[in-house]
Amino acid sequence: MGTLSAQQPSLRLTAPARVVCGEEFKIQYVVNTSDAADLSEPKFPSAFNVLYGPSRSVMSSYQIINGKQSSSSSVTYTYLVSIEKAGTYTVPAATAKVKGKQIASNSMHITALPAEKESKAQPATPQTLSGKDLFIQVNANKAQVYEQEPVVLTYKVYTRVNLRQLGGKMPDLKGFLVQEVPVPQQKTFRVENYNGRNYQSALWSQYVMFPQQSGKLVIPSIKFEGLVEFPVANDDFFDNFFDGGGNYTQVKKVLNAPSVTINVKKLPLPKPQNFSGAVGRLDIAARVLNKDIKTNENLNFRVSISGVGNMKLIQAPKLNLSPDFDVYNPSVTNNTKLTAEGIKGSMVYDYIIIPKKEGDYEIPAIEFVYFDSESKTYVTKRTKAQNIHVAKGRELTLEEQSLGRQDIRDIHSRRIDLRDVGESTTSGNSVWGGYLIILLLGCGAFGFLLRRRRNGQNENIQMRKRANKTSQRYLKSARKQMKHGNKVLFYQEISNALRAYASNRLSIPMSEYTLERVCAVLSERSVPESLTDEFRNLVSLCEYIRYAPESVSRNAGEIYAEAEKLISNFEDVLK
């Protein structure tokens, strides 16, 4: 046992804070080492009736955690006591000797509640369970308040039975801003005397209510549902043996918490002009957070409002700074806690101020007017005015200047025609007029183009007529020459017929007429290559024969037919 018990030897007194007269309870003195000796006999008040004691019990434990050994032991001296008369008593301290040293315990107060008048009332059964055995009390800390002044509403449950569960909900309340005070989930019950009977009581829930309007505001009765457990007396030996004798039935019980009326008064008139809307006990402070203040650099200015009141409804205080400062909306930090007194803590408003010019300035005092709920008057608190010196900081870059959004843009001073304003922007007539004009222009263009195309088509037809006419004329004269056997003239007429047809049909003036030009136009108008070649061959054949008429082996009739067929083929292709 290498470990030393590092803890100081101590002697502790434990006893219940409240007891009922005539009921026995334990008073214990606990020493936290085992080698204690000689507890001095405490001198209990005369109303204390020591039924038994002191009994000494020694307890020791020994544990190894992560290889480390530790041990602890204690000695408990227990007295079994009952008190005969109601009242408040002091349980005296005791002393003990530990390792030769004398140590003393604490002393404590104990309240003895009077015993119940109905001597030993029957414990409630599921059949007799009544509102006297289990009920809920509501308590408002003030019956009369001003608007915005918090009221604390406390729901307390009193029970003489074994209450297992309890649930109830605060309804939505009109006229109040309601906030629930967090209370521990695990309720601690303590004895309390109510109307001559002793109950186990516990704080069930607590609300802080901020009245938002004046008048008689009613908090309605709330329905709670409880589950109560009763032991069942069972005489059957075997049942008791196997179930351990602990049989219970559970009974549901509806509890109605009474309604509460709160009289809310209007804040006294006249309200000061710059009243902030805050009600409570508050204070305001302001300070500059920066050490050096320079132009175009952030100056952090902190205003905090602290105290108790309706903190959440306070507006950010306004700073009345000279136009040489740009003030941005403050960021708000909420450092408040909901307590039974109201919302307590501080609201911190951090302003970012950007000085634009160097020099000495004063940040003026901020006035904060609130309604003091204790003195029932309007109170004005002022921060101290602060003198600051703005040193020259960096220059703004051009980009920052444009981004800085220092000022609005200038007014529009162009002349406007007000006579038809209000109609032209909203009425639809002018719009459809515009469409009509565009559509009409479109129709005009359409008509014009249509006419031009039709003319073009007519021209085409006329050209074809003329081409056929002239070529036929030449062909006719060629036939005549063929009959006469005049070969040279025959070929000339065939050549003429082809030339006349091509020049008229393809609208090539005679002056520009060449065989190459004709071929080019034909290929442009997507006439098949074979047809063009045929045409070229025939024309060159005719030319050739004109100069060497004897060398032809082919029949004149064949040539004639070929020319005629060629022309009709062209007519098929050229449309």
Binding site: D172, L173, K174, G175, F176, L177, Q212, Q213, L313, Q315, N329, R405, I408, R409, D410, I411, H412, S413, R414, R415, I416, L418, R419, V421, G422, T425, T426, V431, G434, Y435, I438, L439, L441, G442, A445, F446, L449, L450, R453
Partner: protein, 249 residues
């Protein structure tokens, strides 16, 4: 004789009235220039009682801004923006004042709706008309090409251009009507003084939120209640506030 006199009087009075309005903007502008902002405000306000124009609202907003009345400045910039959303000065000053007033609430409407709304407000009504006219002109020219030309590629392109042109006409008209709708149905309002939003119009209603001046709200239902209107915040929260606390844009 009497009738004629009466007619002359009517014509004269009409003429006089128009003449009055005519000079007012210039007078307001010159008062503004010399720093008489509150006088400029009253001149502009008289003018706006008879005729409304984006420029006058804009100038009035500037005058209120100089008087450090941010709520009214915001209100008038919003009106100017409604009538002429494409003006860069209006946009600039509006966003500046919006940043200066408290209570910017996040919008909760859908991205697509926001986007379409901002597209429609890129141009003003006249500009959208011009866009629609341009679209129609493109469509007609393309149709003529399609109808009269023989070249296949050109006809194909022209067919597409007709469709595009007609779509542009549709776009221009939709955007213009969108803006007109908001000009004719003014449901947006600016909170002019700090006010508590309640959950019902009754006197004993619960407070849901505190609205500060400069907050933008939208009237939700047209149910007439004495001095109370139902509104929605940009984040969708709904409630009732006294009607005297807001001014419609």
């Amino acid at each position: 004789m009497r009738k004629v006199l009466f007619l002359v009087l009517i014509i004269l009075s009409h003429h006089l009235c128009v003449a009055n309005v005519d000079g007012l903007k210039e007078r307001g502008d010159s008062l503004y220039r010399v720093g008489q902002f509150s006088e400029a405000i009253s001149v502009y306000e008289t003018l706006l009682k008879q005729k409304f124009h984006a420029d006058v609202y804009y100038n009035l907003g500037n005058a209120y801004y100089r008087e450090k009345d941010m709520a009214h400045a915001l209100l008038n910039y919003e009106r100017a923006y409604l009538l002429n959303p494409s003006n860069q000065d209006v946009r600039y000053n509006l966003s500046l004042v919006r940043n200066k007033t408290a209570g910017q609430v996040n919008r909760s409407s859908s991205f697509l709706k926001d986007w379409m709304h901002s597209v429609a407000y890129e141009l003003n009504i006249q500009q959208w008309n011009m866009v629609a006219y341009g679209g129609l002109a493109v469509a007609i020219v393309a149709f003529l090409c399609f109808y009269f030309d023989d070249r296949v590629w050109l006809r194909k392109a022209a067919f597409g251009a007709v469709a595009v042109g007609l779509l542009i006409v549709l776009l221009g008209n939709v955007c213009r009507e969108h803006q007109k709708y908001y000009i004719c149905n003014r449901t947006d309002a600016i909170v002019m003084q700090t006010v508590e939003m309640k959950d019902s119009p009754e006197a004993d209603a619960r407070t849901i939120a505190v609205l500060h001046e400069g907050a933008k709200v939208r009237q939700k239902s047209l149910i007439k209640k004495p001095q109370m209107i139902k509104i929605a915040l940009p984040d969708g929260k709904e409630g009732w506030i006294p009607s005297h606390a807001v001014e419609f844009i």
